[in-house]
């Protein structure tokens, strides 16, 4: 009869454990939805967006709503899945929407003749602010709009650079 009592005790504990686990699971799902569809924080680093973003790394808040409604405009800083490596995300500025004609210098160091290109339908032209140290659409061409994953809102770290990104 003792083991029956133990079983009852365990049932109570198990039920409570299951409840706690389900609360944690729901919380994780909420975090996933917020991170993917509303707003998220990202650590960005690299020289390609100097002087807007620092070389050693910033934490920025990015929102994931605008691109779903097609509200990405010229001059926005966006998070884009890299067309050369799908596991990486890159941060660049949009300098051309579909149908725009752009001319850029093929090699900014040499400074010779510029190339003119029209952005095809459904694509955007992304470019880093630091033309000398950025692999962007000048290297891999215009990227499809669907690769855009978020728009940068403001920088939260380091604290002395806190503020919106322009």
């Amino acid at each position: 009869m003792r083991w029956l009592r133990y079983l009852n005790q365990w049932r109570g504990t198990a039920k409570e454990a299951l409840e706690q686990v389900s609360i944690v699971a729901k919380f994780l799902c909420l975090i996933h939805v917020t991170d993917r569809y509303i707003i998220s924080s990202t650590h960005v680093q690299g020289p390609s967006m100097l002087p807007t973003l620092n070389l050693t790394g910033d934490v920025i808040l990015a929102e994931h709503l605008s691109h779903r409604f097609g509200k990405i405009g010229l001059g926005d800083i966006v998070l884009v899945r890299s067309p050369t490596d799908p596991t990486r995300m890159v941060t660049k500025r949009i300098l051309g929407l579909e149908g725009h004609r752009l001319s850029f210098s093929a090699d900014p160091l040499v400074g010779d003749g510029s190339v003119s290109v029209v952005v095809p339908k459904g694509h955007v032209w992304i470019q880093g602010d630091n033309l000398y140290a950025s692999t962007d659409s000048r290297n891999f061409g215009p990227v499809p709009y669907s690769l855009i994953e978020g728009k940068a809102l403001l920088r939260v770290w380091p604290p002395r650079f806190f503020g919106s990104l322009r």
Partner: protein
């Protein structure tokens, strides 16, 4: 009071259920309907059948379009679209193989999603209507099984792997098609032919890749067997096929400075040797434009075997990698 409480409870439950559903559909798997017939007969086979074509609005005689029996039959046959299970675990590392059927966002209309088959992975060569195209890094070549009515890479070119939203694993509706979908093979069509991987066939005695048996060179094109590489013997050939040439670089060999480019098998991508682009010594100029294939580990001879080190052959013209 009671109604408000009930409403609140229902809203809470719906909200929680919705969030869990979205998370599962983003991370595990989801069920999507297949529209159109670009993947017939693998998916939606009825649309491409004779009956299906007759039932299409543009093919049916005008008078019959309002007949209720006709509409009923049309509903049962044409609108019985397949529903497929799309798994999202592949999006962790984006590793796909040729033959995977994937769901991806359209590169031209960002709100649309297409379902097609991957027939070219990064680095492979695809022969399209007029020329041979190399699939760039991070991209893939997709084609529908029903070539006649499929909008795919033949129109919009290779797509970045980042556009892929999931991989189709099986058909879940209608239930009789549950086991009919074989993910890797397209209804008996040879996969290599379907992907139109550009491989040249050689007639006669050939040296071929040890891993995938792609032919590289004829024995007639062999110039010299007395070359050396890091791993052993290397053979100099007049001409090789089915290789991709890598970047040019300067290398010092036993016979002096050369500009060479590594060559790789087009089918499996393994390194097979190098090509001499420029030789800087006058005595080595004869090598320019010719190819070295490393024999010991990389190549099968015409008799099917690998090579032994033949000790008593003189080591003239030997080059080290």
């Amino acid at each position: 009071m009671g109604i408000q409480n009930l409403l609140w409870q229902v809203t809470k439950k719906a909200f929680t259920g919705g969030i869990i559903g979205v998370t599962i559909s983003d991370r595990c798997c989801s069920v999507v309907p297949v529209r159109g017939d670009s993947m017939s007969p693998t998916l939606n086979p009825q649309r491409n059948s004779y009956l299906g074509k007759c039932l299409l609005e543009e093919n049916a005689p005008k008078l019959i379009l309002f007949d209720p029996y006709f509409l009923l039959i049309r509903l049962l046959i044409l609108d019985a679209d397949d529903y497929v299970l799309v798994e999202k675990f592949c999006l962790q590392d984006y590793k796909f193989v040729r033959g995977d059927v994937v769901v991806f966002s359209s590169p031209t209309h960002f709100k649309d999603k297409y379902i097609k088959r991957i027939v070219g992975l990064p680095g492979e060569w695809i022969s399209s209507s007029r020329d041979v195209i190399r699939v760039p890094e991070g991209h893939c070549w997709v084609e529908g099984d029903n070539k006649a009515s499929s909008l795919d890479s033949r129109t919009f070119g290779p797509i970045p792997l980042g556009l892929i939203r999931g991989r189709v694993t099986s058909v879940v509706w209608p239930p009789q098609r549950f086991l009919a979908f074989r993910p890797r093979f397209s209804s008996g069509v040879d996969l290599l032919k379907m992907g139109r991987l550009f491989v040249i066939d050689l007639q006669g005695e050939t040296y071929s890749c040890k891993h995938c048996h792609t032919p590289f060179a004829l024995t007639d094109d062999l110039i010299s067997k007395s070359f050396h590489c890091k791993h052993g013997r290397a053979y100099l050939f007049e001409n090789v096929v089915n290789v991709t040439v890598g970047e040019m670089e300067h290398r010092i060999m036993m016979t002096g400075w050369h500009t060479v480019a590594d060559i790789f098998c087009v089918c499996c991508g393994s390194l097979v040797g190098w090509k001499y682009e420029i030789a800087y010594e006058k005595s080595q100029k004869y090598k320019e434009g010719k190819f070295i294939i490393e024999s010991r580990f990389k190549v099968l001879g015409p008799d099917g075997g690998g090579y032994d080190m033949n000790e008593d052959e003189p080591m003239i013209g030997s080059d080290e990698e």
